[in-house]
Symmetry: C2
Subunit: 237 residues, 2 copies
C-alpha cells in the first residue's frame, strides 16, 4: 500500500519482526505458498536464514503473523460515513475479506487453520466477532446465533478459498493467461462433458463463463443472509 521502490536489498534499518512479516507477505503474493522460503526471505532482507529465527519462532508462526496482518488490514477499511445496516455491514466485511483473498490467494487456507487455534487472541476471531455482532443485530434469536454466524463464516471462507484456488489455477497456466481466458477454458471443458452424466454442469457452462466473481460472491452471500433472516422471522424451531 505504501510507496516503495526497492527490489531486493534494503539495508540500513535493522531486521524486525514487522519487516520480516512484510517481506513474507510479498513473497507469498508473488511466488505463492511454495515460494515462502527462509532462504528466499533472507536474501530479500539481505541477511542469513538464521537471523530470521531470532525474531520468529518458526515458519508456522510466520504464516500466522502474515495472515493476521492481512486480515487486520482488510477489516479496517470501514470506519468513515454513517454506520451501515447489519446486512450491509456483513456485506462489507465479507467483501473486504473476499478482496483480500483475491490479492493474497494464500489467505483463505491460512485463515481456516487460524480460526481453530485455541489461543484466540489473534485477528481471526475478530472476524467471527465482526460477523456475529451484526447477526445478533439482525434479530436472529439468541439460540441460533452460533449456527447463523458459523454458516456465514463457512460460506465466506469457502467462496474465498474457491476463488483463491481459481486464481492460482489461472496463474499456473502461464503468465500471459488472465481470468477471462481461464473462465473460457473451464466453460469450454464443461460444455464438452457427457450430456447424460453432466446435464446441469453443461447447462450452467455459459453462466460460468460470463459471471463476475465479486457480484456472484455477493449474490451467494445474499442467499445465505436470506436464510438467516428467514429463520429470524420464524417463531420457534
Amino acid at each position: 500500500m505504501a510507496t516503495r521502490t526497492r527490489r531486493t536489498e534494503r539495508r540500513e534499518e535493522p531486521l524486525s519482526r514487522e519487516r520480516i512479516v512484510e517481506a513474507a507477505i510479498e513473497l507469498l503474493d508473488t511466488a505463492g505458498e511454495g515460494g515462502l522460503t527462509f532462504r528466499a526471505l533472507s536474501e530479500r532482507l539481505a541477511t542469513g536464514p538464521g537471523a530470521i529465527y531470532w525474531h520468529v519462532a518458526n515458519k508456522g508462526e510466520l504464516l500466522g503473523a502474515a495472515t493476521d496482518a492481512v486480515v487486520a488490514a482488510a477489516l479496517t477499511v470501514d470506519p468513515a460515513g454513517a454506520p451501515p445496516s447489519p446486512r450491509d455491514g456483513i456485506r462489507l466485511v465479507a467483501l473486504g475479506l473476499f478482496e483480500a483473498s483475491e490479492a493474497h490467494p494464500w489467505l483463505a487456507t491460512q485463515l481456516a487453520a487460524q480460526l481453530s487455534r485455541s489461543p484466540a487472541r489473534t485477528v481471526a476471531p475478530r472476524l467471527f466477532e465482526s460477523i456475529g455482532r451484526r447477526v445478533s443485530d439482525l434479530g436472529v434469536p439468541r439460540e441460533d446465533w452460533f449456527t447463523a454466524a458459523s454458516a456465514l463464516m463457512h460460506y465466506i471462507l469457502g467462496a474465498a478459498g474457491q476463488n483463491a484456488a481459481n486464481i492460482a489455477a489461472t496463474r499456473s497456466l502461464g503468465p500471459g493467461e488472465d481470468r477471462a481466458g481461464f473462465l473460457d477454458a473451464v466453460s469450454r471443458a464443461w460444455e464438452a462433458l457427457d450430456p447424460d452424466d453432466y446435464p446441469f454442469t453443461r447447462a450452467v457452462a455459459r453462466q460460468a463463463r460470463e459471471h463476475d466473481d465479486r457480484a456472484q460472491f455477493l449474490d451467494g452471500l445474499g442467499l445465505v443472509l436470506d436464510g438467516v433472516t428467514a429463520a429470524a422471522a420464524r417463531p420457534q424451531a
Copy 2:
C-alpha cells in the same frame, strides 16, 4: 473399509497405481498432510522411492488421485431405497462429504484446489453436478442455478474445511486429547475474552462448547437451503 491386518509390508502382488493411492490415503489419514512422503510411502510399500514414479507422475497427481478416490467413495453411499426429495438429496450428499472430510482431514483443502482444474474429468465436478441437479429440481429459476449451486458448494466446502482444521488442531494438542476437550478449551478461551471487544463471541461460547458438529453442519445447510428456496419462490430479481 475392507478388513486388513498388515502393518508395513505387503510383498507378493506387484506395485500398482491403485495400491499406491490406497497407501497414500492411509498415510495422509494417520500422519497428516506433511506425513505423505515418497520415502514413507515406499517404505510402506516395501520398495524404493523411484518405483512410485513409474506409476505416478508426481506428488500433485498422487494427491489428486487420493482426493478423487475418497470423494468417489463418499458419493456412492446413496443408491438404495426410494429417491429422496431434492432437499434431502442435497443433505445426503453434503453429509457424505462432511463425514468423509472428518475421516480424511486433508480432503477439503485438496478438493477446493481440485475443483478449479480445467480438465474437468476428475470426480470433483461430479460433486458439483450432484448438488446442481437437485438445485434445479428444487424449482430454482434457471438464471439462478449457477449462483445457488455455487453457494451450496461454498458453504459445504467451507464448513468441511473448518471442521477438518478443528480436527487437526485437536490432534496437535496430543494423542490423548479428544474433541470434547478441545471444544472445552476453545470455549474457555472465548469466555476469557475482553467483554468490550468480544461480546458476541463470549455470548456464544457456551453454544460452541455444547454443539454437535454434524447437527450444526446440517442446521447451517438448512439456512442456506432456505435462502435458495426463498429465491425460488420469489417472482423475479
